[in-house]
Structures are given as C-alpha cells and as structure tokens.
Symmetry: D2
Subunit: 325 residues, 4 copies
C-alpha cells in the first residue's frame, strides 16, 4: 500500500479500493451520507490492520465533499457551514464551561497556505470578554480563543512547541487545528473538507523530529480540519504519466511489453524514480488554481461559520453578527 | 505632568521642557548625537522622580530620528539599519550560544498596526537550522526565532500570556519586541525609532489587567523597538484646538478673558473634556498618512536589517542574503 | 452657503436646513422613503437657485442610508443590493442591446480609495462573451464591460481622458462610475450610498483643469455611485472645535462674548483659518475606521450585486453565480 | 519546428539548437555578452526563414539572464536595473519632448500575473506634472504616463482596444508594455528578462481575434518587456514525461522499440495528445514557486528602476527619489 501520498483518508481509501479491486478495507468502517449537493463520508479506522492499509492512525476521518462549493453560492456555503458544525460536534464533548482553542496553521503570506490564519480572522473569539467583562456577553457563549502561529520557516520554532506553550497557559479543553492540505486531484481543491480526531502534522520542513499536534503532544483532545488547496506537483506528474502512457499503449498495442514492464513496477519504486527525475526541475513549486485567493477566502468563511455554530450552539445568527463586530 | 499621552519618551521630555520652560529633568540623563541625516537621543531615567515626570519606568530610551527616512532612499535606509544595530547592541549582552526571540506585536490585517509582523517576515531566523541541521549554518550565526502572536481582539489571549508560554518552551536569553506606536506628531510617522529596555505594553483592549512584556513578566531581559505609525485622533484634535484658539485669540485680543479661562484649565481636565466630546464622534478611528502601506514596508525592512546585523555580528551582507533565501 | 465641503447632497441639505433653520430648499424637491432598516432620500435639484444652495448641479441625488450596514449581516446586505438595483434602474433607460461600461475610480493600493476597483472585481462582465462566444450566454444578459483606470498620481493621465478614450472604442450607452467619497461624519462610512445622474469628479490632484466624468465630457449618460470611506481631517477638526467650544461655553456662560464672536465669524473664513492652522500638521492624512479593509470588501460586494441585478434584470441569482465563475 | 510553446525567443532558439543539433539558425543573428553575474543575449530575427524557425516575428529580442536575481541581493538588483536601462535604450529613439506611455499588463489580483501593474506602481510618472505644473519639475525629466488596464476576463474589453483608445488621447511617441510570461523552465522564473521591439500579445482568453499590442495596432513603436513568472503546466508535464521515459528506457534497453515509436512521434502530435489527456485534469492551474509574492515585488522594482533610468537619463538617483515621493 505504499506509493500513495495524500493528506486525505478518503483518497487513501479510493486508492486501495482501486488497487485491490475491493470495496471493504479490513479494520475500517465506512459510512456514507449522500445529499443533493454534498456527500459526507465517515471513515472510522478501528484496528491496526486498517491503520496500516490506510496509512493513518486509528480514529475518525469525516470528509464532506461539495463539488459545487467553488461556485460562489452563498446558500450552499451556509448549508455546508451547518453540516460542518454537525460533524465537528460529533467528535467533541464539551460543556458550558469548556474553553476551546482554535489553531490556524499555515503561512498567511502564501495564499494557498493561508487557510488557517484566515479562518482565525473570521472566528467569534470570546475568551477575553468572558474573562475581563463577562457581563457584556451571554452565558450561552463558550470561551473560545485562537492563534495563528506561523510556520517553522518563519518562526524557527516547531509549531507544536509554540502551541503546547500556549496550551499550558490557557488550559483549553479542546484544540481545533485548521490546515491547508495537498490533494491528488485538482477538483478537490476548495470543495472537500476533512475532519479528523487523530491530530495533524503541521506542514513540512527541515527538522526531522516534527511533532504532531495530537492528544499525546497537547494533553487535550485535538480535532483537525483540513481542506485541499494545492495539488502535489510530483503526484500530478506521476498521475499524468500514467494517463499518457495508458493512452499511448492503447493506440499502439504492439508495445505491450514495455507497458507490462511499467505496470509491473512497484508503485513506490516508480514514484521514487519520478521524484528523482523531476525534483531538481520542480524545486519549490506549488500547483494551484488561478482564482485561489477568492477560493481561500470563501472556504475560510465556511469553516469559521461552521465552527462558530458548533462552538456556540446557543447563539443565534443575529447575535453572532453582533459579536463579530 | 498629566495630560501628555505618548508612547515616546522623547515627546514626554519635549512636553515637560516646554511646560516647565527648562531643559533638564531631575533624575533623567540625556545624551544627544547629531549626524547629518539623523539624531540619536539617549534618555536614561535613573531616579524615581524622573520616572514620575517622564511618565515611564526607569531605564534606557534611545530615539533615532531620521526626518528624511520616508524619502525612499536606500542608502539612508541601510545607514539607519546600521545605526539601529549599534544602539540595540548597547542594550543587550549576548554570547555566541545565546538564543534570541523576536516578537512582532500587532495585527497583520490593519496596515498601520502590521509593523511587528512584517519585521518578523524579513528576519534571519535560524533556531530551527541550528537545532536540526547545524552543519548547514556557520557557527557565527546566533540562534534567532520569531513569533507574531496577533492581538487580543483576534486571539482572546493576553499577548504576554502567549509569549510567556512560548518563552517557557524556547528559553531564550533575550526577547526583542517590535510594535507600532502612536505619536502626537504627524511628521514622526515612520521617521522615528525608539529602543527601550523597560519592556512594552502590547496595544490596548478590553481587559484592564493588561500585562507588560518585561523582564518581570518574561523572566528574561526585554528590549522594545517601536515606530510611530498613527497619530492619536484625540491628541490631534486637542492639539488642533490649542492651535486654533491661539490663532483666534491673537486676532481678537478682547476675548482674553475666555482665553485665560481656557489656559488656566488643567491639561488633564481639558483633555478629558475633549475626549468626552469627541469620542462618540471619532469612535474607532485611526489617523494615518495615505502612503502608509509603503511606509510600513520600508521601515519594517530597516528594522529587520538592523536586527539581523545586531544579532549576527559575524555574518557579512552576502552570507545574510544567502540565508534569507 | 459656502463653508460646507461634502460629496453628499444629503449632507449639504442637512447643513442648509440647520443653518437656515428651514426644511425646504427653493428649487429642490425632496422625497423620503423610510423602511425598517434603511432610508432612501431622493433629492431632485430642479432649478438653478437650488443648485447654488446645495452646491451641486441640477439633477437627481438618491441616498440610501443603512445604519446597520457595517454589522456583517448578509441578509441586510442582499436587501440593500436589491434596493440599490431599483434606485439605479430609476435613473437609467436601457434596452436589451445596450452596452454598459462600469468605471471603478480610485487607487487599489490605498484601502479606503479602493472601492471602485473592488466593485469591478465582483461585477458580472459579459461584453467579451457576447462579442466572441455569444452562444455561451443567455440573450437576456446585457453587454457589460468595466475598467479601473487608477488615479492621476499613478497614471499621469486625467481619468476623464482615459475613460473618454475607451468610450470612443467601446461606444457604451451608459457609463456607471463608482468612487469612494469623503463624509463629514464618521458614522456615514460604509453605511451610506449616493447615486447621482450628474456625473462625478474623480479624486483630486495637482492639475487644476480636472474634468468631470459627465454626459458632457463622455457623450453618453453617466451615473455616479459613491460611498463615504473617509472623514475629511480638516472637517473633523472643524466640527470637533465647534463641539468643544459649545461645551466650554455652556459650562462658563460669562465667556458669551467670545462665543458670539466665534459664532458671528463667517463659516468659510473660519474653515479657512482652521485649514491654515492645521494643514502643515495634518499633511497627507486620512481618517478612517480601523476595520476599513473589511468594510470596503463588504460594501463593494453590495454594490456589485446591486449593479449585477440592475444591469441583468432577466438573470436569476443561480445563473448569476454560474456566470461569475 | 512546431511543438515548442514559449514566450521566450531564447528558449525557442535553444529548442531548435537541440533539435537540429546545430548552433546557427538561418536568418537569425545572435550576439552574446557574458558578465560575471549575468548574460545578455541579443537575438535579431532578420529574415522570414528565421522568423518561421523561431516562431516569432522579425525584430530584436534581448534576453538578460541573471541566475542569482532571486537571492535578494540589492546591489545585483541595482546593477541589473542599469543593464536593463541600457538594453531598452538600444531599442528606442527619443528626444527631450518625447512622451512615453508604459502599459502594465496583467491582473493585479493574481500574484504571478501582477508584474505589469506592480511595475506601474514604482514608476516615475511625470506627464501630469509637466502638463499642469511644469515649473515643479526639471526640464531633463521626460513626460511619462502609465496605465494598468486589467485583463479581458475582468474588463470585457480587448486590452489592445483599451490601450489604443488611450493612445489616441495621449499621443505618446513610444509604448512600453510589461507582462508576465510563461517559461518552460522553473529556474527562469524571476531570473530572466526579455525585451523585444516586435509587440506583445496580452494574455490569452475566450476571444479568438486577440489583437497584439504592436506598432501596427498602436500606430507608434511598442517595446515589450517580459519576465517568466509561471511554468506552463502542460509543458511541465510534457517535459517531465520525456525525462521519465528517457530514464526508464536507459534502465531497460530491451524496450527500445517503444522508445523509438515515442521518439518518432511528431512533437506537435505528442504535445496535442498530452494536452488532451491532462487538460480536464489540470484545468485552470498555475505552477509557480511558493515565494512568488516576494519574487514579483523584487523584479517589479528592478524593472521600474531600469525604466526610470532609461526614460529620464538626465535625472540622478537622488532627484529620482525626490520625485518618487
């Protein structure tokens, strides 16, 4: 099952299904809800064998796929916000006194990586009001705080160190981390949201002891929310090569021998080869849609609204707007 | 000595000098270096009486005034970077193993408040390289990390709590905090830099127990670097009223009685009155030059360069550029 | 009636009403529609005497005031978009073959001046599709094009020259120009929209023969839509002084003489004096709310939506979204 | 010679050289200047046969290659500005009364496409000063104006129509157009500058009668300056496939038959096939370095400085800075 590199459990699952030509994965329970405009897939990795196959730790991975989410449709955006709120609520267990800390991962200066910081900007943050001027806020409002710590290349500090330092001061009951992801598929960009309760690896960098944000490292439960905003360039090249070779082969069947040789190559080996060939060429590239700035803005608002609903279930929309100003 | 509200020790001193019509302030030692294109004023508050008069804690306040710093002159900008490096170096005591943490205070979404975060972006950050891949970096390079924590209104967490949490993880030997300041005078915006070793109050907000970033709260020395980027609206109104009334009086001396009444009003009382009258009117206003975006960019680079030189004295400019990429 | 400097006919009217203590202005017809969340005031200057009093040419000035428009309420924003569409539709006379050119005035690099360019970004622009691939678009969609020409200080060309040059190539039936305005009152910022059919003066600058965008200069009707985004600093200072002096006088009635002197000063003279006193002090300042970036974004979308509805009355919201992507 | 799609004459030449295994191209004169930190290649297409081979109209194509231009080295940036000024000066013929119009092509909202508009922001624009307040400016300063017209998708108007309309009003003696280009190679991004006197095709879009900005369409000479800021995704995929197949073949020589089949395919046919296969997959993608925002800023300043020197040869750097503020 090597060779698949993806942040999305749902892509890992699709890859396995296709590779192995079977629908079920041992040790993994899948539940799908289809609605007119979106699909919710809940992948629960319950046993180690499933974790190995899917390449992700045991836990819950909920994916909301909304193919038309890029179409600037405010009603759909609001609907998805509510669906997100429900699914996040499934994974958390809070009371009225709970303190929640939202972490916006990523670099606010690199548009496709700015999802986390932009969600933070649109969040209803209340901890300081509840602490200093509690009479100015309804009791039903929970204590929410937020931080966008930047990335290792900017700070020189492991993101998990920064967050753990703040967690030690703030003592939240739950950490929710938002991050931009890479997908294998262009059409997932800004249309797919993954929610997981197994923690998250913030970005990638020079260090090799990169620590996860997880219940283990933070001491409190961690929910991660991710949205694909870039396509991995190596993956795109690899997939393209597969497609092109397939097409070439179909048009000249006599070269079946070469095809079989390619086909029989181990996926990992092949991917490694491609990486070697193209990495000096692609360097520090990112592959992203041209309208990425607008897409990030829109999805950040969807996620912020979803979190505002999930975290403050007793606050109606009008009140929410009042607090947000 | 009430009535003067300014972040700049040099303005407090000018105010006192003018009010009291005397040059020296008890308990305060002043030293001025004039160069063709800049003036460095070192105000040392040595006794409590001086601290009371100047409205600032005992310690060092160094001001670099460069009237032409807004004129887009790269050579002047580089020169000021070097002057800044020297003055910062006066206030710090480091060795080759020292770890320095730079804190960019302010809100990156509000241009005049974005100075701190923008300095952080241009800084030579090395801690992660020294920690994980030390062979990729010269020994002469010090360990520098940086954080732009955002503002209380966005995070819901006191900035000093955030920083202290990170300080506890990183254990720096020195914290350098950068912030945008308010000035009484338009022409100080982006032309004056203040360096102090007495700590800094990050912004202002709803809480009333706002804690300083200082040696007391952080457990390590704190150097604060500030640049005026806005004019305080109430101060501007107050100063304008004084000027207009002066002019009116001069033109119609018969109204001397009213003038004397105004003149005899306690400054604090008068300022309070003005505040009451105008605060519903000015609300959440900021007063800033139109070209503020460019000004902030330029001065952020001056400060980042100055810090890069001060913190890595063994690295020459070429190497610096190499590391910055 | 000198002394009042405002881009808003409604403020000129209020000023006159207050100065002269009378409600009606000769040669001006006023019609007010009040709704729960907004007020529409239609000022029609029908005679020269009215034009002199109000300081604006003969024509229609429609003002939509929405005190809560800054409160991030999407439903209200959509409602105001529809009201704007209706009021703009009153002033234009188009058929299905009409070509409309929208001009976004202002500087996209200076946030409070970026309203026009940002409206252009959100507009449903169709002229190129109708011209080159007409089968890809419904017949009901009108031909709309748009330009954000920048400001004189950036281009070195009078904005009216630029627009006239493009008008000569495109031959539109109507020009709609969007611009940021200055108001006397803080609370008008981003809550008041003015629509006029008398043309518009783009910004201000070094040239003294600044030409209007108007039916005379363009050869086709021009509708101007403006929203206050800054407070004029001199006006703010002047108003503040009036308020403070009023308060001072009330508290010390013996100074009535000085008060009367002030009161008897001609408004123009007084404003000129204030200008002289403060202009070296305030220089190139702008006075604006801290959250101006978000405010401009929101109001730009309201106006773009309003224009999209007004210009393409046969297109429903779903289609609109489809075209916008 | 079909199959090569590039905006750069130098890449077309390299491609030909490699394909045909020969150094000289009939009808093309090449002249190379090598310096320590840059190479200037002047390609002059003098005959139709050369134009056909190189896929570009007859005229001059000057390329400045500066491999280290991305390294944030101010001295190098200034040097390149001067080299650019010299090379641009070779292609223009002006006197003191000449009026020059600079056109910043591209979309200021899409970072890699924002080169043109950002150059315009840093330009010394003087036409309005020379026209309205000529005594405020030295005689040696030429009349320069500038426009960033936006892109067809935003305006609905062919860029060449917009520019021709403005040219008809302003009557410049020379148009200089700046645009972002696509390159085949990642390492050309922001390190290569092409200057040509044969005009430029602004972007690409839905229309099929896209008109060039050229002497023919504008009525005055047009110099185009371009810098690669993106890699063409299809080209990248195609090149990657070639490299991977080469590597695979070398490792398994028995598949020589397939290799020869691939090799014998016409380049155009192959590229078309790849396009067909990947275009639904890559859609509206762009491939760009992560630090693109900084790269665009830096190169925009290099080009603006180069133009400021070329267009105002009698103005020294200090004066330049004074005018720029």
């Amino acid at each position: 099952m090597a060779g698949i590199r993806t942040d999305l459990a749902i892509e890992a699952r699709e890859f396995y299904n296709k590779q192995e030509n079977r629908q079920d994965i041992p040790g993994v329970v899948v539940d799908v809800d289809k609605d007119e405009s979106y699909t919710v897939t809940r992948v629960k990795v319950v046993e180690d064998v499933g974790a190995r196959i899917i390449g992700k730790p045991k836990g819950n991975y909920i994916t909301i796929e909304v193919p038309k989410l890029r179409e600037n449709d405010r009603e759909l955006q609001e609907e998805v916000g509510k669906v997100l709120a429900e699914e996040v609520a499934r994974l958390m267990s809070l009371n009225d006194q709970s303190v929640i800390m939202v972490v916006g991962l990523g670099n606010w200066n690199v548009t496709p990586d700015a999802l986390g910081p932009r969600v933070v900007e649109h969040l209803l943050v209340t901890r300081h009001i509840k602490e200093y001027v509690p009479d100015q806020i309804d009791e039903g409002v929970r204590s929410v705080c937020a931080i966008a710590p930047g990335v290792l290349g900017i700070t020189g500090i492991e993101t998990s160190e920064i967050i753990r330092g703040i967690v030690d001061k703030v003592n939240p009951d739950l950490v929710i981390a938002i991050d931009a992801l890479a997908s294998r598929k262009m059409d997932r960009i800004s249309t797919t949201i993954q929610i997981a309760d197994t923690g998250i690896n913030p970005g990638s960098g020079v260090g090799n002891n990169r620590k996860k944000l997880s219940r283990e490292s933070m001491g409190v439960p961690v929910i991660a929310i991710g949205v694909p905003t870039v396509v991995d360039a190596a993956t795109m090249a690899s997939d393209t090569i597969d497609m092109v070779i397939d097409t070439l082969i179909n048009e000249s069947p006599e070269s079946g021998e070469f095809y079989n040789m390619l086909k029989s190559m181990d996926k990992t080996e092949k991917h490694k080869l491609i990486d070697e060939v193209i990495s000096p060429y692609i360097g520090n590239l990112m592959v992203t849609p041209k309208e990425i700035d607008r897409l990030i803005d829109d999805i950040a608002i969807v996620i912020a609204n979803g979190l505002n609903i999930a975290l403050h279930p007793n606050v109606d929309q009008d009140e929410m707007n009042r607090y947000l100003n």
